[in-house]
């Protein structure tokens, strides 16, 4: 019996070029984990619904039209989409600060991923252009622990045979999955 921690194991799988983790975690998965675990399960298990909703289009639009000149986009490992500011900080752009924690955790996950998998240390900026608001995000002992518990949680939820129980949340009404989830 090996008692290797799942997070350690995950990092090893990511770092080893000859291996890859069973469940490669994305920023979206981290976000969903903190928004709704049922949504995470649906998404990670490929249960998708028609994505024509205007909220997604709005998000994409705000992202694409904001801070055009001062940032560059990178795609890392075909999975992690990063925006690097001229200052070198990693930036994540959101439409609204209504779901602050999920957005912060997504950015923290990127920072953690860069540090643990690629040995790159970066700080982050969370930006809400429509609210003219910015927030700096750094990895310290506390936030590192938060990310690692998130990684553990994501792997646990995604690996289950059936979705987590239905639960009414204040933002169910705007969720993409509501017509599938509640039916």
């Amino acid at each position: 019996m090996s008692s290797t921690d799942v997070v350690e194991e995950y990092v090893q799988d990511e770092r080893d070029p000859s291996r890859s983790p069973n469940v490669p975690i994305t920023g979206l998965m981290v976000q969903y984990y903190h928004v709704c675990k049922r949504e995470l399960w649906f998404m990670a298990n490929g249960i998708d619904i028609d994505r024509e909703t205007t909220n997604i289009q709005r998000g994409t639009h705000v992202d694409e039209t904001s801070y055009g000149t001062s940032r560059r986009s990178f795609m890392i490992d075909n999975r992690i989409q990063l925006d690097i500011l001229d200052s070198g900080d990693v930036m994540e752009v959101k439409v609204s600060s209504a779901l602050e924690k999920p957005a912060r955790m997504q950015l923290l996950f990127y920072l953690w991923y860069l540090r643990e998998i690629h040995d790159i240390d970066k700080d982050g900026v969370l930006a809400y252009p429509t609210e003219r608001k910015r927030e700096s995000v750094v990895l310290d002992e506390t936030t590192t622990a938060e990310v690692e518990s998130t990684v553990r949680g994501v792997l646990d939820v995604v690996g289950r045979d059936s979705p987590p129980q239905l639960e009414k949340k204040p933002y169910c009404g705007t969720c993409l999955y509501q017509d599938l989830c509640w039916m």
Binding site: N45, G46, I47, D48, I49, D50, R51, E52, T54, S162, P163, G173, Q178, D179, L180, C181, W182, M183
Partner: protein, 331 residues
């Protein structure tokens, strides 16, 4: 927020004009259709089109349902699927191939279908005749559904219910409309023609809804996949026919929105005239947009959305084992 279906009756040509659809009718009229605003395109006339037009429809995920001579349904052009999921199809086929799982899904579909037939009779009982005993029989048949152990047994219960249901039509329908006996291919009288036409519209609405999921439209649970049609659409259509087609038949006839002048009888049977089809389609589209308060979603949804959520529920059932809630009229 659902997009609308668009029906084209004219003969002419469909082409792509930059980012939008262009229709040139034989009468020399040119119309532009913003492709983003259409849910599905219905072609009732003789339309020629090229691959550029199809490419645009494809890009926007708009299915095209094609009706040929006298509006017989000819087939559909379904865009490359936005939803592709091997998992979903594998689970769908597994469920089909597992007698227990297939039956359980079949039970839900037929229960809902009988429930919705009964709801219609209940509405008209007292208004147009006394259907209390048939309503009671349908209640019993609905209960009997879950006892069936084989698909043919299940279909027999469904057939029995449908026959009793159709037997009430002549009391509900104002003269001179009579069903007498359900006959299609070709429809033998006006009522049969009207039912067939509307059933076709319900069927294509289900095809559109299924296309928005990764489910395979050819693998149904009650209907056998060998029937050379989208059998899953036939299954889902059975649930919605009483709600969307039959209720409209009664309304159109009894309010005299449709009269015998809207039909023509030829060697090939009785069929709606073009004017008749226009009237029916307008009312059909209107009823798709009608909304009801949904007890689970806690918001108003249109009947069109109701078809979509029914299919989502089936998909979720197949992939997670959570119960499938076939749509039973609650409003």
């Amino acid at each position: 927020m659902t997009k609308a279906n668009h029906h084209i009756f004219a003969d002419g040509e469909l082409s792509r004009k930059e980012g939008t659809l262009r229709i040139d009718t034989l009468e020399g009229e040119t119309k532009y259709l913003p492709v983003e605003s259409i849910d599905a395109l219905y072609l009732h006339g003789q339309i020629s089109f090229n691959t550029r037009a199809l490419g645009l429809l494809n890009k926007h995920g708009v299915p095209v349902h094609i009706f040929g001579w006298k509006d017989y349904y000819r087939g559909s052009y379904l865009p490359k699927r936005s939803q592709l999921s091997g998992n979903t199809v594998v689970e769908q086929v597994r469920a089909y191939d597992n007698t227990e799982r297939r039956l359980r899904i079949g039970h839900r579909i037929i229960e809902a279908s009988i429930h919705n037939m009964r709801a219609n009779l209940q509405y008209y009982s007292g208004r147009r005749g006394d259907f209390d005993s048939v309503v009671e029989t349908l209640r019993e048949l609905k209960t009997a559904v879950s006892d069936t152990q084989r698909i043919d047994e299940l279909r027999a219960v469904e057939g029995d219910a449908r026959k009793r249901y159709y037997d009430c039509f002549d009391s509900i329908l104002e003269a001179p409309f009579r069903l007498a006996k359900r006959e299609y291919n070709p429809p033998s009288n006006e009522t049969n023609a009207l039912i067939s036409f509307l059933n076709g519209m319900v069927y294509t609405s289900c095809v559109s809804a299924i296309r928005k999921t990764a489910l395979d439209p050819t693998v149904g649970f009650v209907h056998e996949p060998g029937e050379r049609r989208f059998t899953l659409s036939l299954d889902i259509a059975d649930i919605f026919k009483p709600i969307l087609a039959d209720r409209l038949v009664f309304r159109l006839v009894n309010r005299k929105q449709i009269t015998t002048d809207d039909f023509e009888t030829e060697l090939a049977g009785c069929l709606l005239t073009e004017q008749g089809r226009l009237t029916v389609l307008e009312e059909f589209e209107r009823s798709l947009d009608q909304t009801v308060q949904h007890p689970r979603l806690k918001r108003k949804v249109s009947f069109k959305t109701l078809i979509q959520t029914d299919v989502y529920s089936l998909k979720k059932h197949l992939l997670t084992g959570e119960p499938y809630h076939a749509t039973e009229k609650w409003w």
